[in-house]
Symmetry: D2
Subunit: 334 residues, 4 copies
């Protein structure tokens, strides 16, 4: 066994910023169907969180011309850990600079992944006061479980698309100590997908090869239920409310998570996560590498099938290439 | 926010050793109803693990005259982390010494909690070869999901009884960096229960005031399903097989875990854990302290009631005190 | 096997009328937490139904000084079946007369059980037009699954309390062709409980010995989910909204139904029914008779315990007798 | 509302006989994965039932050169009802004659559907004695819930393929009083599918247009869980044991049932039914007719997609026609 010590500098994926061209409809989707609480609002954005989250927000929804990812927010495990990570990011030449006026957290250091995804890392967070009528009967629950929609509990993970997965995977490992948990590698060499995490869940940041060849796009943001039945409940509610379901409920082979994919009114793909698949407690975890021939089982162990074209659909939208082009990309010829 | 850095030296509760005076029946219980795999056997013990565990064993069952806890096994996050923890334990005067010949892990350092519970800490583990017909179709699952009983996935946590909770709580925090997540504190001062963890689950080691005043006893060992429905399935199967159910299914307020308590044939209490309640990602988690008046809700948020006499029942068995004596103990007068 | 032919004249329990002294709070409970739709309102009553019900209402809530049962509504399988049942009821001397102006159904024949419960039987029903925005995407679902509370699907059954169970049991069998499915009979002879049905569910009308000795009271009205997990969801929501949970979730041995009991703001006990236990397809079903010694298992197979004092709590409220008086009643000495 | 009285002469689908060319493997599938009990065996057949069934068997497995349906067994609600149904069947010219030596039931009258499916109808059944160690702790459960596989509770329904659905639908309505619950009708006229039942479940016999044009084939036999989560459990177990999953888990729009389709080793399609969708209590039920444009939603409301080619796969096997031929058949041109 290796004598190296793991890096424990990042606590978790703290928030995601989503851009939406249909702001009001997106806000209603997240509040009325997903059961998120609004914790703040300004000219450009609404701030939201699940009933099991105590920091200011896990989702920032921002008006924009096109849907897509604004930025990713990571929280460190200490002030010193933040300093260490910023030093590393600067040494890698990926830094942009400090943001001091963000709502709900900060100071934060902003930087970019090799594929262009904007990221922020910070230590300090705000924990807003909860109004008396929103307080739960449970002392360990930040807010009352809402009686609306099929309420999610918290943000779970983010899946970002990459023109080339391998450099982003390596960047996350070095910049913030993410650990590689699983990956799908094509026979010809290209990495089709990679799942990494900074803690015991099996992925907080996942990477998908963008079959259009674009850079910096978003595949999906995932929210957590913890009870597989809630995916059935949510699928029913989405159908009744004419929200497009892309696939699911079903269970991935990769990560073993149970999934339901839909598109919020702004166009971004949202995953509802029924349970976490499995947790990883082994500090010397050996990444599970799925070969190309197991891709179908890896994408869907049971339930809905997940076609590879799903890896061409992201935000902002781009034309979907034909199957031949996708195969060429997997074979490293694109 | 504090500038201190958390300790990340212990990865997880790796195994528990249970003593049983009805060895064969206990083994059958864990294999035929709980669906554990046998991974080894010697003159005194059988070694078992769940189908999602890749290390040698999470449960060692050992022949004995009385039921109870043999020892607790913790795995560190690195070799250096083991050295740091052993140095700290020795500095605290709690050490016993190195064990070099344990089956499945080691070298391990053995020590004792202030209440007498035997503990071992180690870095190296064995990952036994899996026979071909026991291999799962999933590359990320160590063994095939068994088609027997209602199979648990892995060891979850251990709850140990203490003549006095506070010193054991402090010992775990200092010796291995456990973080206090929740506690119940009596109005008169004594700590009735404490829940700690070394990672993102909200408790891997819990402490219960022993209402008999005894030291070093076991309250329960808990195994994990991750799907609340499986508690219903298991309750049905236990009833059909005349295994005594103590309480459940239900959901704790404290930790929010969904529970089912039964007694294995050897007499030890086993908890089946339907889901993990909530995970903790906050490095600066503020412990949730439940006052005495919330004890009933804290023990049972819904489902089965959990009477306080449950805190007098442990292994090895002792006479259950009358309610007045229990109240005196809570009030710090016993 | 008997050569007798079963009676198939009653289709199902069509509705229940509940009296409430806290009308507005009761209405809010049924609409906001139980997810019932309002289909009508007049000076005294609100009419409600679940999203899987196509007739006018399954619950009529009526203003009153005290909580309790208004009346029970049974629908026949044909117009001729109604004539046959009315003839039988009149022959038994239990009839009151025709009601021609009821909202949502009728003409209805009103009569009384030997214990005084008011009952109505009818063939014709109204099926109200559904507003476009309440129509489900499913052609076989009368109304959209609501995104509020944890919505029940339909009325399931009614449990009424009897000063003496046996004559009411016999009355239901003769008057409407109810079939006895299960019963609990005390060693000394009295029937403690009886479960009957007119169709394939194992009970649409259940009878409980009233431990106070009163006549004509209501034990509970039950609504149906069909998914056991929804009992957990509802228990959580009830706790958050400070609705008193009496017991559950748990599973009865008798009928095998999964239960959650709470009290709506008006004081009536409401059961949420997670699944139907088992369906009965055998026309020559032999009633299952539980002896007194199996009463505890029969009341609760797993999950919450159900104390016998629950059989003293009904509406309208009456003082709860002491345990000795309850035992005397069971022994036929009260 | 119509003044006609419904026919209540058939109680339920009592059993199905399946033919299998891989007898021993089929028996193991039903016993080890589906948890059926063996209640009898002779030279040609094994008789099986679920743990909630009290009659002799619900599944007869018979050795044969090809997979397929042996016969369908319906039980009447009385002896007189049997006489009435036989008279009607004979009047329709569909009768074959009496079978007096069947194992577990009889005398039975055998007849044929217009498409050639063999059917038997009878009143008398055997209820075999249950060995002491197989008796359940529940008095209302015929046999102990087994601790093997993911045990089904009972037979649910049968789906048979028809070269022409309409005449078989009409035959079932007239011969045994089946009621039409739902149907899919192509724009050009042909009936693509029909769902009928003799009791409160929404279908015990379903009919599928055979896209190959063959007569008398079997689409699937369905067994019942009553808990949607069990479909997930079974899907996992099937994958681990290399049993081919065709589709699911998912939920049909038509009937709203939750499904999982697999093929038993003999080649017959088996459906696992997670819950019954909805029950029908209305004696004057108006059949729900799905138009061709809603076919996709009707086949799959959420979860797995169900392609129309599934309606070409049945037993005994036949070559699957190309899509153009299937479309021609739907348009009434084949």
């Amino acid at each position: 066994m290796s004598d190296a010590e793991p890096i424990f500098d990042v606590a978790h994926l703290s928030h995601a910023e989503l851009l939406t061209p249909r702001f009001d409809q997106s806000v209603r989707f997240f509040k009325d169907l997903m059961g998120l609480y609004e914790t703040g609002r300004d000219d450009t954005s609404v701030y939201l969180r699940g009933y099991e989250e105590s920091h200011h927000h896990s989702l920032r929804l921002t008006r924009a011309d096109e849907p897509g990812l604004g930025h990713i927010g990571l929280r460190t495990t200490s002030r010193a850990a933040l300093d260490r990570r910023v030093a590393e990011i600067e040494a890698m030449g990926a830094g942009i600079g400090w943001v001091d006026d963000a709502t709900g957290y900060g100071p934060a250091y902003e930087y970019r992944s090799p594929d262009g995804h904007r990221m922020r890392i910070f230590w300090e967070i705000e924990r807003p006061e909860v109004a008396k009528d929103q307080r739960s009967r449970l002392l360990n629950r930040p807010m009352k479980r809402p009686g609306i929609g099929v309420p999610v509990r918290r943000l779970d993970h983010l899946n970002i698309m990459c023109s080339d997965v391998a450099p982003v995977r390596d960047f996350l490992i070095r910049s913030t100590g993410a650990r590689l948990r699983e990956a799908v590698v094509a026979d010809a060499g290209p990495v089709i997908g990679a799942w990494l995490s900074h803690n015991n869940i099996n992925h907080d940041l996942a990477l998908t090869m963008d079959m259009t060849g674009a850079s910096g796009r978003l595949h999906h943001v995932a929210f957590y239920y913890g009870v597989p039945q809630h995916l059935n409940d949510m699928a029913d509610l989405l159908r009744e409310n004419e929200i497009a379901i892309e696939a699911g409920p079903g269970r991935h082979g990769i990560t073993q998570g149970s999934f339901l994919y839909c598109f919020e009114p702004g166009g971004n793909r949202i995953e509802l996560f029924g349970d976490e698949g499995y947790l990883i407690f082994e500090p010397d975890w050996q990444p599970v590498i799925w070969p190309e021939r197991d891709l179908a089982l890896g994408l869907s162990y049971y339930g809905a099938e997940l076609p590879l074209t799903g890896a061409a659909i992201g935000t902002p939208p781009r034309p979907i290439p034909d199957p031949a082009e996708i195969m060429a990309r997997i074979q490293g010829k694109a």
